[in-house]
């Protein structure tokens, strides 16, 4: 090892050595950077920017703020108003905005925004906007005469909140909070869904990860130890699911596992179960777990295989020659060396499972739905902000997991292939 020195090293012509080295390497570094530039741009354009925009939607919505300027101004001037009894001037601003919405045709947009936290608002706004032009002061009385709901404190809370373009509302909704007359509060038991589904998604993903590991371990071991010709054939079987459309695979599982499906027919045929005792293995949690385990299995096998392939058989032989039984050899010598592969495969499968959508949608039935299905649902209903908030929470929890993983096991121990 070189001895540390405080003396500044210089080149033969007197330039500092460090600067000379940097200058010499600059060209090589520039070229290296140019090589990865396309990938960087690609990742930026197709991944980072869309995710950023998605996350932005989860706390930004100007549907109401942009179409109700008078009310926005009033809310800004009176941040501490009493939602239970807003003054006449607030109603005047509201009526003015409603009339404007009617001419600008923005009633739907503004109403939809408030409707996210206060159900029933879209039709309320439409009705109010139609009448707004004909209303006369005092506006409080005349508007409430159109519909008594205009006096609901929850509505005023909702409008005050929506007058700000930036809001945490969608995250509150995604955490099972509801806006009522007294402000935000946890929803009723029979309305709470998101946190429960988050929990369930993580649980099912953990089960799927475990099942994948259980199934993949022996297969990967075989792949790593069989002679070339046989392992290539086996590898094709492993990769076959990759080459088949996800829908085809999922549909085959339906054909196999449904109540009138092949597996049940077989069980009835050999008399193991009666015709009226057919097992429900499809359109429920079982179906989701079975189909997703199958779909994700290659993601476990491949990292395991890549790790096992480079474990020389001499380790196991050494352990055996040292007096270890085959079980001890597996547990103390082989298994610890496959840990990087187990870790990589598990992380991969778990993260993929947490975000999986199509398979649970097709085979999940009532209780096999995961959080991603709700994200898809809200996107289909054009409630992008709520979908983005749930997705944001999902992303955050995965990052948290990743961080925990790094702390406990170490990311540098991952080995994907």
């Amino acid at each position: 090892m070189a001895e540390a020195t405080n003396e500044l090293l210089t080149t033969a012509d007197g330039r500092p050595l460090k600067a000379a080295l940097q200058a010499a390497q600059a060209r090589a570094k520039r070229r290296a950077f140019l090589l990865v530039l396309p990938l960087l741009l690609f990742v930026l354009l197709t991944f980072l920017i869309p995710i950023g925009l998605m996350l932005k939607r989860s706390f930004e919505h100007d549907g109401f703020a942009s179409s109700a300027p008078a009310l926005v101004a009033w809310f800004e001037a009176n941040p501490d108003f009493n939602p239970a009894d807003p003054p006449e001037e607030a109603y005047a601003a509201l009526v003015q905005d409603l009339a404007r919405m009617q001419t600008d045709k923005t009633t739907g947009i503004a109403g939809t925004r408030i409707n996210y936290s206060v159900p029933g608002t879209i039709s309320l706004f439409k009705k109010g906007a139609r009448e707004a032009g004909d209303l006369t002061p005092p506006f409080k009385e005349s508007l409430v005469a159109v519909d008594a709901d205009w006096a609901k404190p929850a509505l005023w809370r909702g409008m005050a909140s929506a007058s700000n373009v930036y809001t945490a509302e969608f995250y509150k909704v995604a955490s099972d909070f509801k806006l009522n007359d007294d402000g935000w509060a946890r929803g009723e038991d029979n309305e709470r869904i998101y946190l429960y589904l988050f929990f369930k998604t993580f649980l099912i993903s953990a089960i799927i990860t475990f099942l994948c590991l259980l199934l993949a371990f022996p297969v990967a071991h075989l792949l790593a130890t069989l002679p070339m010709a046989k392992s290539s054939l086996l590898m094709i079987f492993v990769l076959l699911p990759f080459w088949t459309s996800l829908l085809v695979r999922t549909t085959s599982w339906i054909a196999l596992l449904q109540e009138q499906g092949i597996v049940n027919d077989l069980l009835v045929g050999i008399g193991l179960i009666g015709d009226d005792g057919r097992l429900s293995m499809m359109y429920n949690m079982t179906g989701t777990i079975v189909a997703m385990t199958h779909v994700l299995l290659p993601f476990m096998i491949l990292p395991l295989y890549s790790v096992m392939r480079v474990i020389p058989p001499s380790y196991a032989r050494a352990a055996r020659s040292l007096g270890a039984t085959s079980w001890t050899t597996f547990r103390r010598v082989y298994l610890p060396q496959t840990l990087p592969g187990i870790a990589a495969g598990s992380l991969l499968v778990f993260i993929l499972a947490v975000g999986y959508y199509i398979t649970p949608a097709l085979v999940g039935g009532a209780d096999g739905q995961l959080i991603s299905n709700l994200i898809a649902f809200h996107m289909s209903k054009s409630n992008w902000s709520l979908a983005a908030a749930i997705a944001g929470m999902l992303l955050a929890s995965i990052l948290l997991l990743y961080w925990l993983y790094d702390r406990l096991i170490g990311i540098d121990r991952l080995k994907f292939g």
């Binding site: 020389p312 001499s314 032989r317 050494a318 055996r320 040292l322 085959s326 103390r332 060396q337």
Partner: protein, 366 residues
């Protein structure tokens, strides 16, 4: 050239055959006895069956036919972990996820040994290979030579009666290898253990072993102490495999006892000892070590046949001079001369006559 099994043998292979594919035999009717405390080396080119024999002895391969006995007991059906045989692998096979100390503790733990006893044994084993200070390192932090020592210590720590070594020095550089050869030999002697050593390096085999079994084509070609092997090869394979060797093809012209007169294919007559070409008229390959070739008449036995030679090249090698000669129509005949003060200087193109003691020229199978 195999020996019949002895009853007092510590390790015995009896009519062992091994086939992987059911078509060809990798080991053909092997009979071998190894005495207690012996250092036996299995030497041969790759594919000769030596490693397979070692693996069968360790229990990682099963014999297709025949019996393998350890201390008089048939161990064909005994699983490797119950054989109590220490083993050193070519790539050391130190467990990378364990420290040196844990590696050494492993065989003791699986034997259910208590902590104190374990630590004492580990310390003794590490001291034995001068690695006492490294117990807490991981194998990846050690040099090749250090890893080799740890592997050795691990194979010895549980006091096995028999230690197998599968080309253990193959990955080391020449200087380190020679040093380790000495250390292994020393350990063998001081511990009194039986060692079966596999290598394809004949120098290693000759330096370390009590006896060497030369393998080729699934058979032991010769089993003998190093000196016998070098000086009295019993067939042309062994003669060519061990050391440098001049070959002359010919036919046996006269046979008196084991003295043979051989007529070379180019017509010259030479003296030789008949080894396994024992009938007049048989074709034979005569093998002569380069250092036993003489060109000064006074060094040759009286009446010896000599043969014409032309110096092609003289190579200076420090302790010796190496003369490449053209003999009997081929120009790869080598003669080694000691680089002494009064050594006759030869020069390329010079015509000389070479000859040798008949016992140094061995008439072997062609």
């Amino acid at each position: 050239m195999t020996q019949e099994p002895r009853n007092d043998a510590f390790v015995a292979f009896e009519h062992v055959q091994k086939s992987y594919d059911g078509v060809t035999l990798v080991v053909k009717d092997l009979n071998l006895s190894i005495g207690k405390g012996e250092f036996l080396t299995m030497l041969g080119p790759s594919g000769s069956g030596k490693t397979t024999c070692l693996m069968m002895l360790a229990g990682f391969e099963t014999a297709t036919h025949g019996e393998i006995k350890l201390d008089g007991v048939n161990i064909n059906q005994v699983p490797p972990h119950k054989r109590g045989i220490g083993m050193v692998f070519q790539n050391y096979a130190l467990f990378p996820h364990m420290t040196v100390g844990e590696n050494l503790a492993f065989p003791l733990e699986v034997r259910g040994m208590g902590k104190d006893e374990r630590e004492a044994k580990i310390k003794r084993a590490l001291d034995m290979v001068q690695m006492g200070a490294y117990a807490n390192r991981r194998p990846a932090q050690l040099s090749g030579g250090q890893q080799q020592r740890i592997a050795l210590a691990r194979a010895l720590v549980f006091d096995p009666k028999l230690v197998l070594m599968d080309e253990p020095l193959g990955a080391l550089d020449k200087q380190l290898r020679e040093h380790m050869q000495f250390e292994i030999k020393h350990l063998h002697e001081s511990l009194g253990i039986t060692v079966v050593y596999v290598t394809h390096d004949q120098g290693e085999a000759l330096t370390m072993s009590d006896r060497v079994a030369v393998f080729n084509d699934g058979r032991i070609q010769q089993l003998a102490p190093p000196a016998d092997l070098y000086e009295r090869p019993e067939n042309s394979f062994v003669a060519q495999f061990i050391g440098e060797n001049n070959k002359l093809m010919g036919t046996i012209e006269e046979l008196t006892g084991d003295k043979a007169l051989v007529r070379l294919t180019t017509g010259e007559l030479i003296d030789a000892t008949a080894v396994n070409a024992k009938e007049k008229g048989h074709r034979t390959l005569v093998s002569i070590r380069p250092e036993r070739v003489e060109f000064k008449p006074e060094m040759m036995p009286p009446g010896a046949h000599t043969i014409e030679a032309e110096v092609v090249e003289i190579i200076y090698m420090g302790d010796i001079l190496r003369a490449v000669l053209k003999v009997a129509g081929s120009d790869d005949f080598v003669m080694k001369m000691r680089n002494t003060l009064g050594q006759t200087k030869l020069s390329p193109g010079q015509k000389i006559k070479v000859g040798w003691h008949p016992q140094d020229a061995r008439a072997l199978d062609p």
